[in-house]
């Protein structure tokens, strides 16, 4: 595996939901690339489309949603053009996904061991005995103590952190090229989250897999990601490497978030935060022009009329804005 080889190239992905109340353009022209061994952080709030984008990559979109455009080039081939049969082979083995709620993504009536073995046997040609051995190895790898005993336990017998580790074991069981982590640590306590993050970083280095790390938490993405794509209402508004995004945010939304979300780095406390006004627009009442314009302190007429295209403002730093933030900020 050569580094710097592009693993995933998403081009202008569009996924729309056709509901009775109207069309929701959940993912509206999203493009990004992930190289081998790289971690891309996809950041955004509710309604930004980050989860829908990841499900689209996995072709897990169901009615009333439909992928209506774009390409997802994975290892040189467009996933959107593959048959259901071909995609199923890829899911779980070449691309794996872990979710937020391990309690609901793990089947409560099967043991942990059983579920990991299933993942292995589905994609690899191993005997049951070998698969079991591999499972114990994996449980060990993800830091589950006494893996032989845990093998026979049910999800409800494990703590949240353990369950998430089990999920990760299932996900990496076939050495995937890409791991998609969708808010996988959001429901965990902060000390457990720290453990899981360390585990993920560790595994990523060991196995050399790429990660699409989806979260709403800026701090997490600062820690985990090489590159960051900030999304808002279905579009990417800023895209660059992590340092640039945090030290030199160019989109007013990114800039606003960094200043308004309480972090340990803020100097003054108990003062009014520079909050972003207004709220995320409802998908059925999307404002005209730039979707962020109603909330943007820098918005002018053109912003309210037209949607800006994403442009490369600085080397490798893409922004979708008519008035990118001029001040070069130190992350507060």
């Amino acid at each position: 595996m050569e580094k710097n080889q592009i693993l995933v190239d998403v081009k202008d992905l569009k996924t729309y939901f056709f509901t009775d109340d109207g069309v929701v353009e959940a993912v509206d022209g999203v493009s990004f690339t992930i190289k081998r061994g790289e971690v891309l952080g996809l950041v955004g709030e509710s309604g930004c489309g980050k989860s829908v984008a990841s499900l689209s990559i996995m072709r897990l979109i169901d009615k009333p949603g439909k992928i209506v455009g774009g390409e997802v080039i994975f290892k040189g081939e467009d996933l959107l053009k593959k048959t259901e049969e071909e995609i199923r082979k890829i899911r779980g083995s070449e691309i794996a996904m872990i979710f937020q709620e391990p309690m609901t993504s793990l089947n409560p009536v099967f043991t942990i061991g059983n579920q990991v073995i299933e993942a292995i046997l589905l994609h690899q040609d191993l005997s049951e005995e070998k698969a079991k051995k591999r499972t114990i190895e994996l449980l060990n790898l993800v830091g589950i103590p006494e893996p032989e005993r845990r093998f026979n336990q049910y999800p409800h017998e494990l703590s949240g952190g353990m369950r998430q580790r089990a999920m990760i074991a299932m996900a990496i069981s076939c050495n995937p090229d890409l791991l998609i982590s969708d808010e996988a640590t959001t429901a965990l306590d902060v000390t457990i989250q720290a453990q899981i993050l360390e585990l993920m970083k560790d595994l990523q280095k060991k196995i050399g897999m790429s990660v699409l790390f989806i979260t709403h938490d800026l701090a997490l993405v600062a820690e985990m990601a090489n590159n960051i794509a900030v999304t808002y209402t279905g579009k990417i508004v800023e895209y660059s490497d992590a340092r640039s995004v945090f030290k030199n945010p160019k989109h007013p939304y990114t800039y606003g978030l960094l200043r308004s979300v309480p972090s340990l780095l803020f100097e003054e406390t108990k003062v009014e935060l520079p909050a972003i006004e207004g709220m995320v627009p409802s998908p059925y009442h999307m404002p005209q022009g730039c979707h962020f314009s109603p909330r943007c302190p820098f918005a002018t007429d053109i912003c309210r009329r037209e949607m800006p295209e994403i442009e490369e403002l600085l080397a490798g730093h893409y922004v979708r804005c008519f008035h990118p933030v001029k001040v070069s900020k130190e992350a507060i």
Binding site: D217, L218, A219, L264, K270
Partner: protein, 332 residues
């Protein structure tokens, strides 16, 4: 400074029922001998992870949950065991804001009625006066009064939280328990609601008990903080001191686990090994000893008392002595 709330040896055990006749076969020691006080006009935060007992403590103070043992002194009056009918008029002075903006509002009532209800229940003013007051409060929390007749489901999460806040301040209380008020909100909305809470505290001279697990939020709006673990209070001090100089090993681990939105920040993490013990059968002596890297024999034998080591900085650890003398050494 006057103590508005004085909690002494507060204890709450929940029975674990079993057997054919549903007799208690064990007790969940949710809150165990917790003592602290809250000064008038300040924001006191209780932080902790799952199972720490912080939410139970908050609700027990309001007698929404009945304490098993201990004393709750509100504004000089012992309210621990007064009959609930006597509690009712006191509820005008002590209110609560809930975490879930979706579940805490009755979906079948228009928001004007939801906000008016406290006034109705306590028979404050005539109908007209109540309606005027509702409009006044709505403006105070940033809601447009023309939405009086709308139903909760027509509003976004941030707006619903404002409705909940409006309901809580309707009777001009002295004390508000804010149970994770921003955890369920989008990142860009959190700042708005936090600002609102700060603003209201100023305008209405409120005292807050903030229950939270997000330490960045806690750091931003609290004056003093109490750290809980498995039903016990481990450390209490003012905010600056807690973040600059945490003395309890658990606090240190907790703080080191918090991700920071700076990709360059070097994270030296104190990783806790093991899982959270069961609250039904907590470890003997110090409850944290099973995961603490400084644990020695004494930790299993004796429970460390919460003592003031200097200037109202309370710590419960055998190895933190008066004068902030720290004597823990790593075990194997």
């Amino acid at each position: 400074m006057k103590k508005l709330i004085d909690i002494q040896n507060l204890t709450k055990f929940f029975p674990v029922l079993g057997g054919v006749f549903s007799k208690p076969v064990g007790w969940v020691k949710a809150v165990d001998d917790v003592s602290f006080h809250i000064y008038e006009g300040e924001t006191f935060s209780l932080v902790g992870e799952t199972g720490s007992g912080k939410t139970t403590t908050g609700k027990t103070i309001l007698r929404l949950i009945e304490p098993t043992k201990g004393k709750i002194i509100f504004d000089g009056k012992d309210v621990t065991s007064i009959p609930l009918s006597e509690m009712r008029p006191l509820r005008r002075s002590m209110q609560i804001i809930f975490q879930d903006p979706y579940g805490s509002l009755n979906p079948r009532l228009p928001i004007g009625e939801i906000i008016r209800e406290p006034l109705l229940v306590h028979k404050v003013g005539t109908k007209k006066e109540q309606e005027e007051r509702v409009v006044e409060i709505m403006k105070l929390v940033g809601l447009s009064p023309e939405y009086l007749h709308r139903y909760p489901h027509e509003f976004s999460g941030g707006q619903r939280q404002r409705i909940g806040i409006a309901r809580a301040v309707a009777l001009n209380p002295k004390f508000i328990v804010a149970d994770e008020p921003v955890s369920a909100l989008d990142a860009s909305i959190q700042a708005q609601v936090l600002n609102l809470l700060l603003e209201l505290q100023q305008k209405l001279a409120l005292t807050y008990l903030l229950i939270a697990h997000n330490l960045a939020v806690v750091r931003h709006i609290s004056d003093r903080v109490g750290v809980m673990y498995l039903g016990k209070l481990f450390e209490v001090t003012n905010t600056k001191e807690l973040f600059d100089n945490p003395l309890h090993p658990y606090t240190q681990a907790l703080l080191s686990a918090i991700p920071v939105p700076d990709p360059d920040a070097k994270k030296v993490r104190i990783l806790l090994h093991g899982d959270l013990p069961s609250p039904i059968n907590p470890p003997s002596g110090c409850r944290f000893r099973t995961r603490c890297r400084y644990a020695k024999d004494i930790c299993a034998e004796k429970e460390p008392p919460l003592i003031d080591v200097d200037g109202e900085h309370y710590v419960a650890c055998h190895f933190v002595k008066k004068g902030k003398k720290v004597e823990y050494t790593p075990s194997l």
